[in-house]
């Protein structure tokens, strides 16, 4: 187990370095930070001086090396746009994105799993067909259209929910959370649904497929033959056995959640990392973009490590084998 985790950690470092490298190589092409940092009237000579000061004229590999070694020493640099320390800017935004992502994921699981089970157990029911069709239409509309639609229906027309931002937040330690106030939850609902709808469909379809597969397995047939009560059969036997692939996909889709959180955050003006990243692209804020990507890679790696450990928790076969 320890060996396994260590091995994953080494691989994780590789993944993060590769992401940093790729990310860094892209910065040069996003645009020129200098023209974004300076005003209309700034002279070309002043711009050149700034460029030199920021080391933007250095060879790419030197810039990357500096970025990596600074980061390893815990120095994440300063934003070109706001001049603030990047570490602090990102850290301030992490809670918003994580809460959004986690709640979206929770919605997708809490709705997706029961829906998947239901549609698997009643494959020919009318409700099943309706659920399948609705979710299919749901994932076929681009996320940003869904977001705006939700805003106008629930925010503007009905006036039930806020249209933007995080609502009331509470500071807990260094973590700014919207999970402890009603306002916070109200603000979280629409973006989380927008972000979760794709995951929901995915989860539901996966659970459905796995469940239908598992329901045909020998041990389910055997449990049937033993007269194990149907509820127990469906949830304790069948559902538990569908969880391994579901967890795998959730781990893999984490990248997707983060990617689409960029869109969702932009639509809902949700002050998370994605919004920060979009602003940073607009302003060619290289340090922020770099750190953002590394942080995303870190979360991705972390989630997948957790997923691997969850396997072990769920599946006794993966625990160290006892005597035969």
């Amino acid at each position: 187990m320890v060996y396994f985790i260590l091995k994953r950690l080494v691989q994780s470092v590789f993944v993060m370095l590769a992401v940093a490298f790729l990310a860094f190589s892209l910065f040069r092409f996003v645009g020129d930070p200098i023209t974004q940092m300076t005003g209309v009237e700034t002279s070309v000579a002043d711009q050149e001086r700034l460029r030199e000061e920021l080391g933007l004229n250095d060879p790419f590999i030197l810039q990357f090396g500096r970025f990596t070694s600074d980061m390893l020493q815990g120095d994440f640099g300063f934003s070109y746009r706001t001049r603030q320390p990047v570490a602090e800017m990102i850290a301030d935004r992490i809670p918003a994105t994580l809460e959004l992502g986690v709640v979206a994921l929770l919605i997708s699981l809490l709705v997706g799993i029961p829906a998947g089970v239901y549609t698997a157990l009643r494959p020919r029911g009318i409700a099943t067909q309706a659920i399948l069709m609705t979710t299919l239409v749901g994932v076929s509309i681009p996320t940003f259209v869904i977001g705006i639609m939700l805003i106008f229906v629930f925010g503007v027309q009905l006036g039930w929910l806020p249209t933007f931002g995080r609502g009331g937040t509470v500071q807990i330690g260094g973590w700014e959370s919207s999970l402890f106030t009603l306002e916070g939850w109200r603000a979280l609902l629409l973006p989380a649904i927008t972000l979760g709808v794709y995951q929901l469909t995915l989860t539901m379809r996966l659970v459905r497929a796995e469940m239908m597969e598992v329901m045909r397995s020998d041990y389910i047939r055997f449990a049937m033959a033993r007269g194990v009560p149907m509820r127990k059969l469906h949830y304790r036997h069948a559902l538990a056995n569908t969880m391994v692939p579901v967890i795998t996909i959730i781990g893999l889709q984490f990248g997707g959640v983060i990617a689409f959180s960029i869109v969702t955050e932009s639509v809902f003006q949700w002050p998370g990392m994605g919004l920060l990243f979009l602003e940073s692209i607009r302003f060619v804020d290289i340090p922020v973009m770099g750190v953002y990507l590394v942080v995303i890679a870190f979360f991705f790696v972390l989630v997948n490590l957790i997923v691997d450990m969850l396997y072990v928790a769920i599946d006794p076969r993966l625990r160290i084998r006892d005597v035969q």
Binding site: V40, E41, A45, D46, T82, Q269
Partner: protein, 526 residues
């Protein structure tokens, strides 16, 4: 540390605001597309920063509701005698928000700070050769040459408290790392910062010790950047914000049609125009003319101007809210050439004739570059223009992109024709002549946005004279000559003045200034 405290108080503030929603009429919540990058008035010369900080800091002079220059921290000013420059007599009894007294030392300090290499606003002081503190409340700005417009050009030059800045290690603007002034303020203006969460929420509260009479009744102002225009509009319509600048043109009818909301429409001072690669030897993006540059011929440029149907653009794209432009500043700006108010009419037939005369009876193809996130409807405008050019045989290869790599492309001469919007920072015609019409001259820092390097010796000759001429009539005559030349040669195709469209709740009274600055001191919430 300070930031944390601010943040916490913001939480309290917002919680209170929410509870009191509707009851506390004096809280103003407003939104705009871009967050001010910094609270340092000298670090970045950008409209969001200057607009926001004008509520907190003040300059020696300020602009009134009609954009006119009026006394602010300088109670009066007059030209120096015996040398070029201006003397400013400072207002006495003004204190900074932390209680420190305002004196000429602070102006001197602010000048040094703002003209330092680390400051992005230093170009304002290019004409200044020396600054002298005469006494506590008198300061002289000496210029190398006569400079009648100098007071107008420093309306956004904001004064910091010397002691405050120095004791907080903010004597220079933050260049590559933050300093105290990035997140904290200490101005003399009507409002002061109570909390700031960059990119999320910034809260201002009135400065009780402001020297001027407060015309507003705002007790708290909360600013939120909302980048997505549909979201911003939704926030206004759902009542979560009281005011937003700007809203998309096409949504005006929707807002006006709803009870309790109003739209404020005005003209910004920004003129949108097409520019040409005048000095290119050949077209870069042409498929048929690759060995010469048709745009070097004024007849071709005039043909392009005649191809534009500005009325249709106005009607369809801008819903009748733009004013066609004949020159690079809108009417009403000082120096506007009354004598040259005609613009080339929409006349495709004439355009074709001109092209034939110039040797391109079948037209030619070329590359048109446009930003897609800089001006109102910029991309749609370019598509429409491309379609209009195509109608006379000018086959435009349209290429649009975000402004972050648009400027670099223009700087690298990577265009045949391009779109540009220009707002005269000094609200005077001299500004676009200096930046857009004078030939490129890095040494003198002239023509720095004249990407196509339009060059006319007479214009180059006239600019210094215009800058130095004190007599308004003589000055206007020279400007008229420049405008006549550039219109004759079709240096640019001025299209229209960009509209300014704000939306607010009915109960908010505010003033829409032509520079798109939102001044809280004129806001009343009923």
């Amino acid at each position: 540390m300070t930031r944390r405290n601010l943040r916490n108080s913001a939480l309290l503030g917002s919680a209170v605001a929410f509870c009191a929603m509707g009851a506390s009429a004096e809280t103003l919540r407003w939104a705009s597309t871009t967050d001010p990058q910094t609270m340092d008035p000298h670090a970045v010369n950008s409209a969001p920063v200057l607009s926001f900080l004008n509520n907190v800091y003040e300059g020696l002079v300020r602009r009134g509701q009609d954009m006119s220059i009026e006394p602010s921290l300088a109670a009066s000013w007059e030209p120096l005698e015996g040398e070029n420059g201006w003397r400013f007599n400072l207002r006495e009894g003004v204190t900074f928000q932390d209680g420190a007294a305002f004196t000429a030392e602070d102006v001197m300090f602010s000048y040094q700070r703002a003209s330092n290499e680390a400051a992005d606003v230093r170009s304002w002081f290019a004409p200044v050769s020396e600054v002298r503190v005469v006494d506590d409340f008198t300061i002289d700005f000496v210029t190398a040459a006569p400079n009648p417009l100098f007071p107008d050009s420093i309306a956004n030059f904001m004064i910091l408290d010397k002691d405050w800045a120095e004791s907080n290690d903010a004597a220079l603007p933050a260049r590559d790392a933050e300093n105290f002034a990035t997140m904290n303020v200490n101005g003399t203006g009507p409002f002061t910062l109570s909390s700031r969460d960059p990119g999320v929420r910034t809260t201002l509260v009135p400065n009780g010790g402001w020297w001027d009479d407060a015309q507003h009744n705002v007790t708290e102002a909360v600013f939120t950047p909302i980048g997505n225009s549909a979201t911003g509009l939704a926030a206004l319509l759902s009542g979560e914000i009281d005011f937003i600048q700007p809203i998309p043109l096409q949504d005006v009818a929707q807002v006006e049609g709803r009870d309790g909301f109003k739209v404020l429409e005005g003209e910004e001072t920004r003129v949108i125009m097409f520019g040409f690669g005048h000095e290119h030897d050949a077209l870069l993006y042409s498929t048929d003319v690759t060995d010469s540059n048709p745009f070097a011929d004024p007849r071709v440029r005039l043909a392009a101007a005649h191809a534009i149907d500005i009325d249709s653009i106005d009607r369809v794209l801008f819903r009748g809210k733009i004013e066609a432009a004949s020159q690079l500043v809108p009417a009403g700006i000082s120096g506007f050439s009354e004598a040259n108010q005609d613009r080339p009419a929409y006349d495709p037939a004439r355009a074709k004739e001109l092209l034939a005369e110039a040797g391109y009876p079948d037209g030619f193809s070329f590359g048109l570059k446009c930003p897609n996130d800089r001006y109102i409807n910029d991309e749609a405008l370019c598509r429409a223009a491309a379609s209009m050019f195509a109608a006379v045989g000018l086959d435009a290869e349209l290429s649009t992109g975000p402004v972050r790599d648009y400027w670099p492309q223009l700087r690298e001469d990577d265009f045949d024709m391009y779109l540009l919007g220009w707002s005269p920072g000094t609200f005077d015609m001299e500004h676009p002549i200096r930046f857009l019409m004078h030939s490129q001259d890095d040494e003198k820092k002239l023509g720095s946005w004249n990407f196509g390097n339009y060059s006319n010796a007479r214009v180059d000759e006239l600019l210094p004279q215009i800058q130095q001429e004190i007599d308004p009539a003589a000055r206007q005559a020279m400007i008229d000559e420049v405008i006549a030349i550039t219109q004759e040669e079709v240096a640019y195709i001025p299209l229209y003045t960009q509209p300014l469209i704000w939306a607010a709740k009915d109960n908010v009274d505010l003033t829409q200034r032509a520079d798109n600055f939102f001044m809280l001191r004129w806001v009343t919430v009923n």
